[in-house]
């Protein structure tokens, strides 16, 4: 695990070895897995040659699950146990779910995240998503003939911390190591930008099945910089289906529907929406269980009219993101369209009118996110050579803050901050002798705590008794490159310190995940233990290779004694790496890691120094120029 990629960031230490990494677009309606093969990003199809996997999971009474087309085909017959659009429930409580009265599921309100009662038991949205990810993992492993180093999984840019954490948990449950959570519009920008050698400011308009994102990026040679992002994590193509569904009920004057009929009519609504992309009107015919017949025609004009407010709802965040980026419509060089829902003519028209230019549709809007994710996964796995790589600078979509007196929010990290980011703020006690402080972490733009999403609550205890206002409690927020937050609080007076770290997990504790992992292993189709051993062997080999190439590059940073100790551990791990004991391998890896820790720090220092070196002359020049010209502020 150690010392990889320092010699030349992004460069494979062993150029002939290609590390297996994939990009996964875990969509509301459909999911895809893609990889880079012979320098080309390709979507991996199933055994019948179908690239998409419908994001549909059907639970059976024997505890197993059907995923994809199989499940989709049965959704009208078994709507209660067939979960569609589960992405809408990720990291969400029951109260957050729109139109839940018209959904056929048995919801179970649980603190943090909602649960679904199915024939196979009580399921968290994380478990349902993990079923989808597991199928994609198996598909990739079969296609690539080996265990994966890891995956880049895409999430809507506007996903909050709870939704991101839930996605990461789902990957863990599916046995997928996560290289990075990547924002969907950013993934699309990578695919588009690299394909077209694009330079300048681009907008990515991403309307998926259940989420809407807008991202404004500046593309320049080798750099993808997100300037601002916005959106609505509960607005997508599904809502257009819902509008048609309501129109059908009204136009055909239908009585209250059974769940089976409702599911069937929703499917008819979706088909009509897709038909209208290429035709002026769509026939909608169905025979219901109740014996009633539906025979309607939906025209483009009516469809446009009943969805006008939905289209308008996407334009507001676009304006806000542009303003946040400090730009106007005239600055935008191109608008990349992403997501199947952008095929709708009224969307194309509205976006074109707003940006005063024809939107770019030259990439398949359904595949572009997975292609971008695979490309980024290939980079993160170290398969690109130096000079042929790029830097991605992304942002957090929503402000992070803390509850203060009176239910108000004190923002600590503002939205659109480039990640990774950290900010510390000092707070104090308000009562004499107060020894504990409750800390409530929230996310959102509103001023009242009740209008923001609650992420985590924790207590800092052991504060020495003091008069009110004397304690100094430093709360530090750290957002990592996945956009995930961790919070530390520390009281720092008279040498007394207390600190705690919180990793919000939204109703899914580590114990719960461990339990789910165990349950899921009862149903796995592959031998989990053999798999774990195989993974450990691959990991060990990678570590050995990384340490060797680090020694090749920077042996002078080690004393003779250190070098020989590392060599010893290397030899030991090499011998053990072929053994059948996963435990022994993992322990030997830990030993080698420990032995190379100081080496790793020194190499990082050296790497950082290099960022400063090699430009002595040019630098003096530019500083003199800067001095002469001054700066226009």
């Amino acid at each position: 695990m150690a010392l990889l990629q320092i010699a030349e960031p992004g460069e494979s230490s062993a150029p002939h070895e290609h590390r297996l990494a994939v990009g996964i677009d875990l969509g509301t309606t459909n999911s895809l897995v893609a990889t880079v093969r012979s320098g080309l990003a390709v979507v991996l199809s199933d055994e019948l040659g179908r690239p998409l996997l419908p994001s549909v999971v059907r639970y059976l009474t024997d505890g197993s699950a059907e995923v994809g087309y199989e499940a989709q085909a049965r959704q009208a017959l078994d709507p209660r146990n067939t979960i569609v659009s589960v992405k809408r429930f990720m990291g969400r409580g029951l109260g957050d779910i729109a139109h839940r009265e018209s959904l056929p599921y048995h919801f179970d309100d649980a603190p943090g995240m909602v649960r679904l009662l199915t024939a196979a038991g009580r399921k968290s949205p994380v478990e349902v998503s993990a079923e989808i990810l597991r199928v994609l993992r198996l598909r990739a492993e079969a296609a690539l003939a080996g265990p994966l180093l890891g995956a880049v999984i895409t999430v809507p840019a506007y996903f909050d911390d709870a939704q991101r954490q839930a996605t990461k948990d789902a990957a863990r449950l599916a046995g997928l190591p996560v290289l990075r959570l990547l924002n969907e519009p950013t993934a699309a920008a990578i695919a588009y930008g690299l394909d077209n050698a694009a330079e300048g400011v681009y907008a990515v308009y991403d309307l998926g099945g259940g989420t809407f994102d807008i991202s404004i990026l500046r593309l320049s040679r080798g750099i993808f910089e997100v300037l601002a992002t916005g959106g609505d994590s509960a607005l997508g193509g599904d809502d257009f289906d819902q509008r048609i569904f309501c129109w059908i009920i009204e136009a055909a004057r239908l009585k209250p529907l059974s769940v089976e009929d409702a599911r069937m009519l929703l499917t008819r609504a979706r088909e009509a929406k897709e038909y209208l992309t290429f035709h002026g009107s769509a026939p909608i015919c169905a025979r219901l269980d109740s014996g009633e017949a539906v025979d309607l025609t939906l025209s483009t004009e009516v469809f446009t009219e009943i969805t006008r407010t939905l289209v308008a709802k996407t334009i507001q965040p676009v304006k806000k993101a542009l303003r946040d980026a400090g730009l106007s419509v005239a600055d935008v060089k191109g608008v990349v369209m992403v997501g199947g829902a952008t095929r709708m003519p009224q969307i194309q028209r509205a976006v074109g009118e707003f940006f005063r230019q024809q939107p770019l549709n030259n990439l398949d809007p359904e595949k572009v996110v997975a292609i971008g994710a695979a490309t980024q996964a290939n980079l993160l796995a170290g398969n690109r050579v130096s000079g042929d790589d790029w830097l991605l600078l992304d942002v957090i979509p929503l402000s992070l803050g803390i509850e203060t007196m009176g239910g108000l929010v004190e923002k600590i990290i503002p939205r659109n901050s480039t990640i990774p980011a950290a900010r510390a703020q000092e707070f104090t006690t308000f009562r004499d002798g107060q020894t504990a402080l409750a800390i409530h972490v929230v996310q959102g733009e509103r001023e009242l705590v009740s209008d923001c999403r609650s992420l985590a609550r924790f207590e800092l205890r052991g504060i020495p008794p003091m008069v009110a206002g004397a304690a100094r409690i430093r709360v530090t927020f750290q957002v990592d490159a996945d956009g995930l937050l961790s919070v530390t609080a520390r009281e720092q007076t008279s040498g007394v310190e207390a600190s705690t770290v919180v990793k919000p997990s939204y109703g899914l504790s580590d114990d719960e995940i461990a339990g789910m992992l165990k349950d899921s292993l009862l149903h796995v189709r592959d031998d989990a233990q053999r798999r774990a051993l195989k993974e450990a062997q691959v990991e060990a080999q990678r570590l050995i290779e990384a340490v060797r190439s680090a020694i090749d590059a920077d042996a002078e940073l080690l004393s003779a004694d250190e070098l020989s100790r590392i060599q010893n551990e290397l030899t030991r791990l090499q011998a053990l790496s072929l053994s059948d004991s996963r435990r022994q391998i993992v322990l030997a890896m830990d030993d080698l890691e420990a032995e190379t820790k100081a080496f790793a720090s020194r190499r990082m220092d050296k790497s950082i120094r290099r960022a400063f070196a090699g430009r002595k002359i040019g630098e003096l020049d530019s500083q003199l120029t800067a001095e002469k010209t001054g700066e226009a502020v």
Binding site: M1, A2, L3, L4, Q5, I6, G10, R19, L149, G150, L179, R180, G222, I223, A312, I315, K319, R323, Q376, L379, L380, A381, G382, L391, L392, S417, T418, I419, P420, A421, A422, Q478, D480, A481, A546, E593, T596, K597, A600, S601, M604, D605, S607, I608, R609, A611, F612, A613, K616, E619, L620, S622, Q623, T625, A626, E627, T629, G630, E631, V633
Partner: protein, 196 residues
Amino acid sequence: MSTAMSPEPSRRILGETMQLTDDFFALFEMPRAFRIDPSELERRYHERQAQVHPDRFASAGDTERRLSLQWATRINEAYQTLRRPLSRAKYLLQLAQHDIASESNLAMPTDFLVEQMEWREAIAEARAAADHHGLEHLHHRLHHDLQERYGEVAALLDDRHDFAEAADRVRRLMFLEKLLFEIDEAIVVSEEQASG
């Protein structure tokens, strides 16, 4: 490490180990001055981030991943601080031990406060009338005013090294930047109303 406020090129010896605790100008190896070349700052920011960003260490060990996160975070913080003129000026004052909050003359002169009240009244009127054009006009006027004031701050910090006076100007700029923010918020609201 250079400690003076002089705009001379840094005397830092290249090859010396960089520390996470180095000041933000040192991190970018730029002279400690208010007048900076923004495109050069951006270029150096990208260059350093390309070396330390967590994406470079996605499949590395825990030690590197942690170090990379710390460095990338620090470099982002440094860039965000130096990029904007107000935070850059505040940071320079902080480095020169002139904490703007602890200055004795926290009270603003009357003429400045009167001016503030006039601005606020103008904003409130335009907001109440949903006068989008009026708000845009206020934005441009204030923006222009800010440019001039930053020019004065530049001279105070870089040429005359008059930190006490600079601190006073920066405090006013904090008020004015907040005003500009409020105007922009009002513009957003008026746009939302206009589009229903």
